[in-house]
């Protein structure tokens, strides 16, 4: 199979296979790949690029998992360990609302001592600030942990969280599904199959979620493609994923020291472009500028990406890992960045409804 044959197949609207995706990863002509991904994206999304205005709340960095790639977690007795109070959480939501945020993104460590009620209260506290704030909270890993904590089934746990005001789920914790790599990266964490199973139940409960992939560490290209295959299959069944977000591994402060790890700018763009082409049942592909850097994130808008994440305020996880991007990007900056890429900025809400054009 040549690149041209795959391109023809994609242009006809047909789905590509895993081996074809592998070939796209290994294909030498980065710009031809980018143009194909851009074409796929424009067919779906035109020239619009989404962003939303959100605030991250990382309520605690205390975590019973000790994922090797993570520079954020602490054990409870380590210096720098923290847990926010409800007042602090409320304060951040109030600030976010004043700044025009429409979403609060809540993820944190798996804290050993908090009761399930803490999580319910955290959501209702944010919703009490304003019912218009969408609470996008808890990765599949946290949901599994909360279900255990609450001694409830996953669907029952999700029901309780929904009643408290949970609006949707972020896509974190997927890392890479391949068991051998996952065992080395994050042996304590949910397996890939479990992550997918939780997400299936999330979607069945009527909630939407995102999906991620952590790449640029120990995984092979085949592992990346297999990760995307499993996401595509689940999406065929549920349609519950809103967006795919590949996350570039940040080697700087992680325990995981791998020679030559960390991604090249070329690899970042290639991964985004292949995912746009392969994941034909995903509406959106997001570039997470916090980890990619603003320049590569902007350039990716010409490589099939149509979503730029929020104007994140106070992101801690990527920054602890050594991301050297600013903590936040203002609305004006993100609008300018999209315009300068020749695209049309559209502010969206968490569920990808258009709020405002620029």
């Amino acid at each position: 199979m040549t690149f041209e044959a795959i391109a023809a197949k994609v242009r006809s609207g047909a789905r590509i296979t895993e081996s074809e995706a592998m070939l796209l990863f290994e294909h030498g002509d980065l710009l031809a790949l980018g143009e194909l991904a851009q074409e796929v994206n424009e067919r779906r999304n035109g020239r619009k690029v989404f962003f939303n205005v959100n605030r991250h709340i990382n309520h605690t960095n205390i975590c019973v998992n000790r994922c090797r790639f993570c520079a954020f977690f602490r054990t409870a007795d380590q210096p720098g360990a923290y847990l926010m109070t409800m007042d602090e959480i409320r304060g951040r939501a109030v600030e976010a609302l004043a700044e025009g945020a429409t979403e609060i993104h809540v993820v944190g460590g798996l804290h050993p001592d908090l009761p399930f009620e803490f999580y319910l209260e955290m959501i209702s506290t944010i919703k009490a600030v304003s019912p218009d704030l969408h609470v996008k909270a808890f990765t599949a890993v946290e949901i599994a942990y909360l279900a255990k904590l609450a001694k409830l089934s996953v669907p029952q746990t999700l029901e309780k969280l929904k009643e408290a005001g949970l609006g949707s789920l972020p896509g974190g914790g997927a890392e890479i599904f391949a068991p051998e790599v996952r065992n080395q990266l994050c042996p304590e964490k949910l397996t890939g199959a479990e992550w997918l199973s939780i997400m299936e139940q999330v979607h069945q409960s009527g909630l939407k979620s995102n999906a991620t992939m952590l790449y640029g560490h120990l995984e092979s290209i085949a592992d990346r493609v297999d990760h995307m295959r499993q996401l595509r299959e689940l999406q065929d069944r549920t349609g519950g994923f809103q967006v795919f977000i590949p996350l570039a591994f940040q080697p700087e402060h992680s325990q995981l020291k791998i020679a030559g790890s960390g991604t090249s700018g070329v690899d970042d763009l290639r991964t985004l472009a292949v995912s746009r082409i392969y994941l034909d049942n995903f509406a959106n592909i997001k570039a997470y500028w916090v980890m990619l850097g603003e320049k590569i994130a902007q350039v990716s808008l010409c490589f099939g990406v149509n979503d730029l994440d929020g104007t994140v305020v106070e992101e801690r996880i990527g920054h602890e890992a050594g991301a050297d991007t600013p903590q936040a990007m203002g609305r004006d900056a993100i609008v300018t960045m999209i315009r300068k890429a020749g695209r049309v900025p559209v502010e969206r809400d968490t569920l990808y409804r258009e709020l405002r054009g620029y």
Partner: protein, 354 residues
């Protein structure tokens, strides 16, 4: 328009200013990039990307030019004004040579007291102690300043500097080679004709040169095109440019302020440089202003070289932009972008392949 431009490029013909402007304003990034990439592939078919091991020695930060985009200069009586001692300069060069460096890039402010004798003395000492090192120093603005201070013509100054050991001239201070822009961002600096005059004289004397462009400050797209066409014309008339190096204005700590050019703008200008300047063999990616990831991507948008490792760099760093790179990191940067790393001399002779 894209078809017309593509046809011209395939036929090896030069594009017009109007076509170049279209690339900047209307052209899709990847379409323009592919044109540049095809030229890069035909000019540098081996899949190699080169770099040089060098050090910038900024001998003084005292400068009478006081450009508004510059965060590095100081007044003569400023508390943190400095002029390096000869022994300090020699010490820095020793470190460079010990690390296998082959290029010295001395650049500094337009100091009111440093005349031709100062540089003749310094350069001949450097040459006698480090005969194998390429002395690639003094931008056209400095050469002009030294000539004026010493009552010499440009040609006389260059002849004497060359005699003392200056091997080649870097193309800094070109900023935008359009005087309406220069009068806004660097009113006291030489005009575009002054810059061109030094480069013409240097070429006549057989000295290799490079050309740069700093964009993203106050210029219009038309000015970028004008700059590229002026450099192309200079080269056609017998210029000695070995490379063209576009980089972006860094607004930190400057009088001019404002924003940094975006990644898409950088890649477009870089690609257009490759397309317009087919009579200049090498185009450098600027990792110093763009960071490693963007420098890698730039290799698909016309660049075939990543410049120097820069054991030391102070001017861009003063504007808050600090990327650091060792030789090993440079090799890894090139390799992980899919190219073969080659260490080169200032004049693009291959020294080692990795």
């Amino acid at each position: 328009m894209l078809n017309r431009i593509t046809e011209k490029i395939t036929a090896g013909a030069d594009i017009t200013a109007e076509e170049a402007l279209w690339c900047l304003t209307e052209g899709e990034l990847l379409a323009v990039g592919r044109l540049a990439d095809s030229i890069r592939r035909s000019m540098h078919p081996g899949g190699c990307v080169s770099f040089v091991v060098d050090r910038n020695v900024n001998y003084t930060n005292v400068c009478e030019s006081k450009c508004k985009f510059c965060a590095f200069y100081r007044e003569l009586d400023a508390e943190d004004a400095y002029l390096l001692e000869g022994s300090q300069i020699m010490g820095k060069i020793e470190e460079l040579v010990a690390q296998g460096g082959t290029q010295l890039l001395m650049q500094g402010g337009l100091h009111p007291e440093l005349d031709i004798e100062y540089f003749e003395g310094l350069f001949s000492r450097i040459k006698s102690r480090f005969p194998g090192l390429q002395n690639h120093s003094l931008s056209p603005a400095e050469v002009t300043h030294i000539a004026k201070l010493s009552g010499l013509s440009i040609k006389e100054a260059l002849v004497r500097l060359k005699g003392a050991g200056l091997d080649s001239i870097p193309g800094g201070g070109a900023e935008i080679l359009v005087d309406s822009v220069r009068s806004e961002i660097s009113p006291k600096k030489i005009g575009w004709q002054g810059w061109a005059e030094v480069m013409r004289e240097a070429a006549r004397l057989g000295m290799p040169t490079t050309a740069t462009m700093m964009f993203g400050s106050r210029e219009r797209q038309e000015d970028i095109v004008e700059h590229l066409f002026r450099v192309r014309a200079l080269q056609e008339e017998g210029g000695s440019f070995t490379a063209f190096i576009p980089w972006t204005y860094q607004p930190g700590n400057t009088e001019l302020g404002g924003e940094c050019a975006s990644g898409v703008e950088y890649l477009k200008v870089l690609a257009l440089s490759r397309i317009v300047l087919r009579n200049i063999p090498n185009i450098q990616a600027s990792w110093v202003t763009q960071g490693a990831k963007m420098a890698q991507v730039a290799l698909f948008f016309g660049a075939n070289d990543v410049g120097g490792t820069m054991l030391e760099e102070n001017v861009v760093a003063a504007a808050g932009c600090r990327f650091r790179m060792s030789q090993e990191e440079m090799i890894e940067l090139i390799r992980s972008a899919g190219f073969t790393p080659v260490r080169r001399t200032t004049l693009y002779k291959e020294l080692e392949r990795y």
